[in-house]
């Protein structure tokens, strides 16, 4: 499948970087066509500006900053997000990519007179999250899993009607052993290898 990998972590020596390497290796071995967006690597600006807010309903062609990102979204059949979960949800950098790129004319459109939006990313058939949580699964359940639901509900609603979501998460990483981390890397590799 045409696969867009979005990676978000400031530190090149982080466990998230190891997860990215494992993911790319597995996706390559499975023969997928891959594009990678490294948000920190390309110094993406996550702040939606006053200007962008004002021109939100303008055609995306008038917004060169996000043209490449929009093109990637329209191109892909699968989105793989690799990031750490902070405060229960996506880091600001990744949330900013969603805020600024999943816009009118790219992810959805609102027809005149309509009061519900029309999803535009029907090409996306699968969303996979590869993430780590400092807290345990129990704590995340108590918090209501905001990060997970943002992907599996809010974003998924813009994609194919039959879009499937996969949630690959290592919980309690603050206290995880090396063995547990390696095990998770193997799990990610296995899940993305087919």
């Amino acid at each position: 499948m045409r696969t867009l990998v979005v990676y978000c972590h400031p530190n090149p020596n982080s466990f998230a970087a190891a997860l990215l390497d494992a993911s790319l290796a597995a996706l390559t071995s499975a023969g997928h066509d891959i594009r990678v967006t490294d948000l920190y690597g390309q110094d993406f600006d996550p702040v939606l500006s006053a200007d962008e807010h004002r021109t939100h309903f303008d055609h995306p062609a008038t917004k060169p900053d996000i043209a490449r990102h929009a093109d990637d979204l329209r191109w892909c059949e699968q989105i793989v997000l690799v990031y750490p979960t902070w405060w229960g949800a996506q880091p600001a950098m990744l949330k900013g990519w969603i805020d600024r790129v999943w816009i009118n004319g790219v992810a959805w459109e609102l027809h005149d007179g309509a009061n519900r939006i029309t999803p535009l990313l029907r090409n996306v058939r699968r969303i996979t999250a590869v993430t780590t949580h400092g807290s345990t699964k129990l704590v995340n359940a108590l918090e209501g899993e905001p990060g997970k639901r943002t992907l599996t509900r809010s974003l998924r609603a813009m994609c194919s009607r039959t879009c499937r979501t996969r949630w690959l998460a290592l919980y309690n990483i603050d206290r995880a052993t090396l063995e547990q981390r390696e095990q998770f890397l193997r799990r990610v590799t296995a899940a993305l290898s087919h």
């Binding site: 400031p10 229960g88 949800a89 816009i103 609102l110 939006i117 209501g144 809010s154």
Partner: protein
Amino acid sequence: MPLTAATSAPNPPAKADALDCADRTGDIGPATDARDRAAHTGNISRAGLGVTPASHYRHRVMHALVIVTHPARESFTHACADAAISGLRRAGHSVEVLDLYAMGFSPAMTEGERNAYHSDEPIVHPHIERSAAAIRAAQMLVFVYPTWWSGLPAMLKGWLEKSMVPGVAFVFDAQGKVRPGLQQVRRIVGISSYGSPRSYVHLVNDNGRRVLLRALRLNTGWRTRRTWLPFYAIDSSTPEQRAEFIAAIEHRMAAL
């Protein structure tokens, strides 16, 4: 165009807080009339309450930190923030305001900040120093923002990540477990606009609310109270409804 600039002179209805409709697939039905809509969205209203003098309220006076997130000063979000601040002041609370866009806050956690996170000195920027001091002094945290993609705008999410660091919001104990650090916070308030109606917001899990009222709440004391003041379906709202909500915010914040 974004929304109303002031309570007294709401702008004509427009494509409202445009981004909010990003997750609006919930159907509120065509040609819904205003009455049905009000029942449907479940927005609070002032219900004819007049201005109440501060002496009327019997409560402990608190120091409130109001965190405002919206790129446009003339937005509905800022109008809500202004009303909340005036309500808090009327009830005798002291108020400190952080306007993240006006500060030029940079929300993306940098490599240096990430590396310092687990050190003894996790605060490396004057903005964070200011925010951390404000958080430590606050007995009430008030978040005013538009909900985008069912969550916090990146700006506000980044502020949480960078300001609520170890030593401010929580501490790691000897076993590496997180222990609450916001014991002084007695109340968390969220005021947010949504493009979607309430039914759809619930369907997608109201993720921003969960981050503030659950994830952040876990780091306060057990008795910390939570107040959520949502304005749903803003794209199809009328100027009167928005003005009424803003008036209701002022009243609710004065009566906390």
